[in-house]
């Protein structure tokens, strides 16, 4: 099946967990095994919006236990000959559309299967956001290797920061960056700007003043608390993306200074 497949390269693979957990949108073509009148199709399809139970299909890449998945929406785009249903499905990750079609067929009483599937969005990545084909990518590599022109490669490869677009962001001072890159927690004095959607316990992204992703973490304070506080831990990083040494280790100086005294 075709469509949006987000691929993370080298150091960017550290954000994959975030990408895997994002919601997905598909266009699917379902074939019913016998004709059913339009209104029943619409009724039954709508029954599958919301929380559904789903057992992964026999041919699947996960353990086959009944699990609950949320289907955010199903829009029927077209019904052809009362047998072919083209629909747009927005779901939680880990929902098998193939199984969804099969189950819709069971409820309709005629049986059904998925004929075609195309993923049109995975989180913020959709068909409008620099979607590239294998051909385009190989062209870009050729252009660079034969002619030293890196413009296409630069256009087709997005910076890792796009993976955290949906997270509330905290921008930190240059002096705090290397400490975080080395695994330290983010303390309040290191914060430069904070997005007002940061809430205690929410997942946040830590960026430099140049917009580079340093780490992903869990906020220990809300935005207002961070502004009001003089000290304390603002964010517990859960995944550090930036390698140490990109920014100078200004945080070591303090320690050395205190040792001298």
């Amino acid at each position: 099946m075709s469509g949006v497949l987000v691929i993370a390269l080298e150091n960017a693979t550290k954000v994959l967990k975030l990408l895997v957990e994002s919601s997905k949108e598909y266009v699917a073509l379902m074939e019913l095994h016998r004709a059913v009148d339009r209104s029943s199709i619409i009724d039954v399809v709508n029954m599958f919006v919301g929380e559904i139970y789903q057992k992964p299909p026999i041919r699947s890449s996960v353990k086959r236990v009944l699990r609950v998945r949320r289907v955010n929406s199903i829009d029927i785009l077209e019904i052809h000959n009362d047998r072919y249903v083209l629909m747009k499905v927005n779901t939680e990750p880990g929902t098998y559309i193939r199984k969804l079609c099969h189950d819709i067929g069971l409820v309709l009483g005629v049986g059904a299967h998925m004929k075609e599937l195309r993923r049109i969005a995975s989180g913020i990545f959709n068909e409008k956001l620099n979607l590239v084909t294998m051909h385009q990518l190989s062209e870009a590599v050729y252009l660079y290797e034969k002619h030293g022109d890196e413009s296409l490669l630069r256009r087709y490869i997005l910076p890792v920061e796009f993976a955290i677009a949906h997270l509330p962001k905290i921008i930190i001072r240059a002096s705090a960056v290397d400490a975080i890159a080395n695994g330290a927690r983010l303390a309040v004095p290191g914060v430069s700007y904070v997005n007002d959607s940061v809430a205690r316990g929410s997942r946040v992204a830590i960026l430099t003043t140049k917009g580079e992703l340093v780490a992903i973490g869990v906020a220990q304070m809300g935005a207002e608390e961070i502004i009001a506080a003089d000290k304390g831990i603002a964010v517990n990083p859960t995944r550090v993306i930036m390698k140490p040494g990109v920014y100078p280790p200004l945080w070591r100086r303090k320690k050395e200074a205190s040792e001298e005294i």
Binding site: V4, I124, L129, M134, S138, P168, R173, P189, T208
Partner: protein
């Protein structure tokens, strides 16, 4: 949308808009100018850009997600690459699935 930002805030706000955070604002804790270290995400040296990169790939229907990812890794001569959420392949016969027949024929 590639590069050409007048300030780093354009980039951050672009991400916010994509992520549905366009109605949020930033509170100032400690005003600081752009650092002199590191690189703007769109202006990294090419090697650095690739190693911190994400490709929004339009997967062709034939090969598996894993195969496609492996090809991209090979094309760009990388050590590591991974994909988010497998897009399964339909309609391969058992002969094709188990024997590697399809992939042999293809190459």
């Amino acid at each position: 949308m590639v590069g050409g930002y007048s300030s780093v805030w354009d980039f951050i706000r672009e991400l916010d808009t994509l992520g549905g955070l366009d109605n949020t604002r930033y509170l100032i804790k400690h005003k600081e100018d752009e650092s002199q270290y590191g690189y703007h995400p769109w202006n990294r040296p090419l090697k650095n850009h690739i190693e911190n990169g994400i490709i929004n790939l339009d997967k062709p229907p034939g090969p598996t997600s894993h195969e496609v990812t492996a090809w991209v890794k090979k094309m760009l001569k990388l050590n590591k690459a991974g994909h988010a959420g497998t897009l399964e392949v339909l309609g391969r016969s058992r002969r094709e699935r188990c024997s590697g027949y399809r992939s042999r024929k293809r190459h």
